[in-house]
């Protein structure tokens, strides 16, 4: 398939976004991570109000950028969609992969969930294959402590070969150190050693051979080990991104193409067929993550987990799950409606007192009564009603809802209600993480 105009346009190599506002002094930092690890919290804490959002070029995926300054250097933080991997199984993963591979960031912050290190390592290891300018931020350290999960930050750093910082973004703990490490890596290019996932003899030898072949063509535009691996199981999207970034479709290069084919044949001869290559790649990464996890994490307090599970049981069991959910929601609505009455009245009486004063003023200036009608009785009064009726309930409802989200109740609701949602043809996620 050739590249149509449309597909080039939607290849979405996001370097355009960055270059637009990039000057030489500004460092571009990508911030990546699994969903729900507190990435937005880190992003917001670092950038404060200096943010702007839009979409990634040609994609309906939100792109948020923000700025901050540290030790006199300006940093532009680019929020990458939260994903479990860079294998481009979804538009979000595609955007994430393209920016990390081709976005030319000076460094990548990968945010991890301290209570879920093993799964999070999957993404970290994949990103480390693309770039070594990585700072790992192990967030939710407070939560891990509460659960009796001990994360050896120094050991993790040793295992990964990049700086690792423990943070509790909600309370701001560790963020200064994080900015220090980002500064070190992006301004001084602090050298890190190379952690490699070993893909087994067959694939490794293919990588090495292809690498030798493409290095002269690619130069140092992209990590050639990573590219060689990807070429073994290339998809159309990556191909588009590659050709629009490197400016030449390496897969049109007869020589390279033959080499890849030859290596694929060799791998197949050793018993791994073409469809299985990606499985083997993912398997090896998962196994590597497991190995690192075992050296880095200790779970001291198994009891805490069992207490959490007991609570979960009550919140989601057949007998109590749904009644509790209904009671809770009713409670929230009750609080919202009755709780809002008092402030509503207060605001209303205040605003209507002001309306009388406005009327006095109009009378004082002998304003025509139609003007008073439009401005005061029409516009002002409507506004006053809307504000006094809407504001208090919203000021009560949204914080309560956020509280439910923060204590993690909402995923339980989704878990309880999944079957109903599905019957209503609201196709949710294939797997819900709790």
């Amino acid at each position: 398939m050739g590249l149509t105009n449309q597909s080039t346009g939607s290849a979405g190599v996001p370097k355009d976004i960055v270059i637009e506002s990039k000057n030489d002094k500004e460092k571009v930092i990508a911030i990546a991570g699994n969903p729900n690890v507190g990435k937005s919290t880190v992003f917001n804490s670092l950038t404060g109000l200096k943010q702007h959002t839009g979409n990634w070029p040609g994609k309906t995926v939100e792109n948020a950028q923000g700025e901050y300054e540290h030790r006199g250097v300006k940093f532009r933080l680019v929020d990458i969609p939260g994903t479990y991997s860079l294998m481009a199984n979804s538009v979000e993963e595609e955007v994430a992969r393209d920016f990390i591979c081709f976005g030319n960031a000076d460094a990548v912050i990968v945010v991890m969930d301290a209570t879920c290190i093993e799964r999070n390592l999957n993404l970290v290891l994949q990103i480390l294959e693309v770039t070594r300018n990585v700072v790992v931020c192990v967030n939710l350290m407070d939560e891990a402590k509460r659960k009796g999960i001990q994360v050896d930050i120094d050991e993790l750093s040793l295992q990964l070969g990049v700086p690792v910082v423990g943070t509790s973004a909600r309370s701001g703990e560790g963020l200064n150190e994080l900015m220090d490490e980002v500064y070190n890596i992006s301004c001084h290019g602090k050298l890190t050693f190379y952690v490699k996932t070993d893909y087994g003899e067959e694939i490794e030898s293919a990588i090495k051979n292809i690498q030798e072949h493409i290095s002269p063509i690619i130069g140092d535009k992209i990590d050639t080990r990573f590219l060689s691996l990807r070429l073994l199981d290339i998809d159309e999207k990556l191909r588009e991104s590659l050709s629009s970034y490197i400016g030449e479709d390496i897969l049109k290069n007869e020589d390279a193409l033959n080499k890849i084919k030859e290596e694929l044949d060799n791998i197949e001869k050793s018993g791994i067929n073409k469809e299985e290559i990606r499985d083997v790649i993912v398997l090896k990464i998962v196994q590597k993550a497991e190995k690192i996890y075992k050296q880095v994490v200790k779970v001291n307090n198994k009891e805490y987990n069992s207490r959490d599970r007991k609570i979960d049981k009550i919140l989601t069991s057949k007998k109590t799950g749904i009644p509790i959910m209904i009671l809770l929601l009713m409670g929230i609505f009750w609080l919202t409606i009755t709780g809002a009455n008092y402030p509503s009245e207060l605001i209303a009486s205040g605003l209507f007192w002001l309306q009388d004063r406005l009327t006095d003023m109009f009378n004082y200036f002998n304003a025509p009564s139609w003007l008073h009608g439009i401005l005061v009785l029409g516009m002002y009064r409507t506004l006053a009603w809307v504000v006094s009726v809407m504001l208090p309930p919203m000021a009560i409802f949204f914080p309560l809802f956020t509280l439910l989200e923060d204590v993690g109740y909402l995923p339980r609701v989704a878990f309880n209600m999944d079957k109903m949602f599905k019957k209503a043809h609201a196709h949710g996620k294939q797997a819900l993480t709790m």
Binding site: Y293, D312, Q430
Partner: protein
């Protein structure tokens, strides 16, 4: 020695198993693998939802809800 091959949806709550194979392909397969479900992964059925579907599983320290239609495609050994 009692070794049976089952699909994950048949795993009783509170029991543990080891993954042997993923039958699904395409995106679902990738998604499962990204969550760390590969050959040899230990999975525990933790909690069923009020309707019995989905079920929450303990996988590599995370709790993940999987629908029975998807769990059917994961072959396990108890």
């Amino acid at each position: 020695m009692r070794e049976k091959n089952l699909s994950l949806d048949k795993l009783p709550i509170g029991e543990k198993c080891v993954v042997k194979r993923i039958l699904s392909d395409g995106r679902l397969r990738r998604r499962m693998m990204d969550l760390g479900i590969v050959y040899g992964t230990e999975i525990e059925a933790i909690q069923s939802s009020p309707s019995g579907d989905p079920v929450a599983y303990g996988i590599r320290g995370a709790v993940i809800a999987i629908r029975s239609e998807d769990a059917k495609k994961i072959i396990i050994r108890m």
